[in-house]
């Protein structure tokens, strides 16, 4: 679906002003009803912000914002409670970085193949398979990472310290594959939007197919491709089930080593939210504070992505 998400900024068709309005009972009423339906999305955003803001403000009444942002231990569920978000943030960044390193080459390779090389028949067979990959629930990715990728990597691990049972590496691998379809389909969209004339010009100058793909189409579609990558990163940061199942739940220290298990922001929210935390306690509110941080980060990345997509659309349409 991510393919179409960003494509909805075309100008509205103009002939619609022609219809007779207001001379038939209910005509105006229908429009009002439709408008109300369209505002549900705004209400959702407002709801999300309200749900996050008030408990978060409350939370910062109990925990100083400096401790939250600079503390290196996160132990709200322990007897000795500490609220430094760095362990969660670092684990999130480690997972996101490895997943991006996997997903970007694979996703872009797949996109270039589909956009520039594959014949229409091949493409129409491959794209539904990518959609299937995109449609697999993340619980399944997490399970596969834990029970199949984990043992495989432990068996063939070259170093002395074997990866732990749950670790960030296996979660990152599964997550990398999970965001390949996101990156691939958006990047392919960007490349197919490059006008045919650019390709024809390059072919006329005796360029090979590879030269056309890498030196003409790729640079021309660059902003769309970057948007695809940014959206992939945003999905990786917000992904919950893979890291909850396979990534580990340690958060009392900052761990940069991906073969150790460590809780990400989303994994903490999911694991703390399972139990019935007593309402109004600091640990309950900490779920919302971490959620607010997560929302801010992904929101910023999404905005960057939209801006980039709009730019490439403006150039060629």
């Amino acid at each position: 679906m991510s393919v179409t998400e960003l494509g909805s900024r075309a100008p509205a068709p103009q002939p619609m002003r022609l219809g007779r309005r207001g001379n038939r009972a209910g005509e105006r009423g229908v429009e009002v009803l439709l408008f109300i339906a369209a505002t549900v999305g705004v209400l959702t955003t407002v709801g999300i912000i309200i749900a996050l803001v008030f408990p978060t403000i409350d939370f910062f009444g109990d925990v100083s914002i400096v401790e939250f942002l600079t503390g290196d231990s996160w132990t709200p569920l322990f007897a000795d409670k500490e609220y430094g978000v760095l362990p969660l943030l670092v684990a999130t960044l480690v997972v996101t970085a490895i997943a991006t390193l996997i997903a970007v080459p694979l996703g872009l390779g797949a996109a270039i193949y589909l956009a520039e090389y594959a014949r229409p028949k091949v493409r129409s067979a491959l794209k539904p398979m990518l959609e299937v990959l995109a449609g697999i629930p993340t619980v399944v990715y997490g399970f596969f990472a834990l029970v199949a990728i984990g043992p495989l990597i432990r068996d063939y691990w070259p170093g002395g310290d074997k990866p732990s049972f749950q670790n960030l590496l296996i979660a990152s691998i599964a997550m990398g594959i999970m965001i390949v379809p996101t990156v691939a389909s958006l990047a392919e969209d960007a490349m197919t939007a490059v006008p045919r004339s650019l390709r024809q010009g390059a072919f006329a100058l005796a360029s090979s197919r590879m030269q056309v793909a890498t030196r003409v189409v790729f640079p021309a579609a660059l902003s769309g491709i970057v948007a695809a990558i940014v959206l992939g990163i945003s999905r990786a940061i917000g992904e919950t089930m893979i890291v909850t199942i396979a990534g580990g739940l340690i958060s009392d220290r900052v761990l940069f080593n991906p073969i150790e298990g460590s809780a990400t922001m989303t994994a903490f929210i999911a694991s703390a939210g399972q139990g019935d935390l007593p309402l109004g306690t600091v640990e309950y509110k900490s779920i919302f504070a971490v959620g607010a941080l997560l929302f801010i980060i992904t929101f910023a990345l999404n905005i960057v992505s939209f801006r980039l997509v709009r730019r490439f659309r403006e150039v060629y349409e």
Partner: protein, 305 residues
């Protein structure tokens, strides 16, 4: 003379040099093509090994016990454990989700595509907001459910709370897909309808919507299949508790398939891990069926046009 002009046209290069250059380009091109194919191969090999793995791991439990038995709390009776309560829970939640999010999403798409005047700031805001909502992590929707719908609205950890949260989560998917479908309807159909004296709503209702059915249906199916596989927000909404009964109404407690699988994965018992694999196969079969319906609808629509 004749030879000379042809040389001038083609730009003469010594034959061996030309062959060399061509071969080098071809070799690079071939390697590049192979590298690209390898990227797709990795993704599909992952998909294939995942499916084969869960099929083998869950093979012994792929029978009727899966859907006729309730999950068992006793370790000694893990063999008779099934996933019926999760399956019925999923059916309840998804039916309610469909009832809420499809009409809302389609209506919102009609407004944005057919009625909204794009020069008005509030219409552009509505549009931007929906794009943004599509990128909000699903666990944040769980927080919305926990903080507002379950607590402030007082709906608690019930099926209706889960369905509302999933509806809001997949609403952007429905809206975006429906808008694409509406946009693909040629303007001439609308003009023809207006020319015959139809009003705006008559045109939308009787001409545009029927013409956009297949695209809308595809989007609806994809949105619902995303909702079926979604676990993260429901973790925060009480679905993780052990449920041994089928839901009786919208205010019943519940669990759903992905969450039941999540619970089984956490347990150390080998029999339950096996059941988790079987549950995954069940979930994937449901999703593949929905996906293939969507593909069939899309292909048929493509042929008609």
């Amino acid at each position: 003379m004749a030879i000379d002009t042809s040389r001038a046209e083609t730009g003469y290069v010594h034959p061996s040099a030309a062959a060399l250059k061509r071969r080098r380009i071809r070799l690079g091109d071939t390697l590049f093509r192979l590298a690209l194919q390898f990227c797709l191969f990795v993704a599909f090999a992952f998909l294939a090994s995942l499916i084969i793995y869960v099929l083998i791991a869950g093979w012994n439990r792929l029978d009727l016990r899966l859907v006729t038995n309730m999950p068992s709390g006793l370790a000694s009776r893990a063999d008779e454990s099934g996933l019926q309560s999760a399956l019925t829970g999923t059916l309840w939640v998804i039916t309610l989700t469909a009832l809420m999010c499809l009409p809302t999403g389609i209506a919102a798409a009609i407004y944005l595509e057919e009625y909204a005047d794009n020069t008005r700031w509030y219409n552009r805001f509505l549009e931007l907001n929906i794009q943004n909502l599509a990128g909000v992590p699903s666990i944040v929707f769980g927080i919305l459910g926990l903080g507002i719908i379950a607590r402030v609205f007082g709906l608690g950890f019930t099926i209706i709370t889960a369905a509302i949260v999933l509806s809001l989560l997949v609403l952007p998917v429905v809206i975006i897909a429906t808008r694409e479908a509406l946009r693909a309807v040629p303007p001439s159909i609308r003009l023809g309808s207006y020319a015959l004296g139809a009003t705006k709503w008559q045109t939308v209702r009787r001409q545009v919507l029927p013409a956009a059915t297949s695209g809308t249906a595809t989007g609806a199916i994809l949105a619902l299949s995303r909702a079926i596989g979604e676990a993260a927000p429901l973790i925060l909404l009480g679905a993780v508790t052990f449920v041994r009964f089928n839901p009786e109404g919208i205010s019943s407690r519940y669990t759903v398939l992905p969450i039941a699988i999540f619970n089984l994965i956490k347990s150390p018992q080998a029999e339950l891990q096996e059941l988790a694999s079987a549950g995954i196969v069940l979930l994937l079969i449901i999703l593949l069926l929905m996906n293939s319906i969507a593909i069939v609808i899309r292909n048929r629509a493509g042929k008609i046009r």
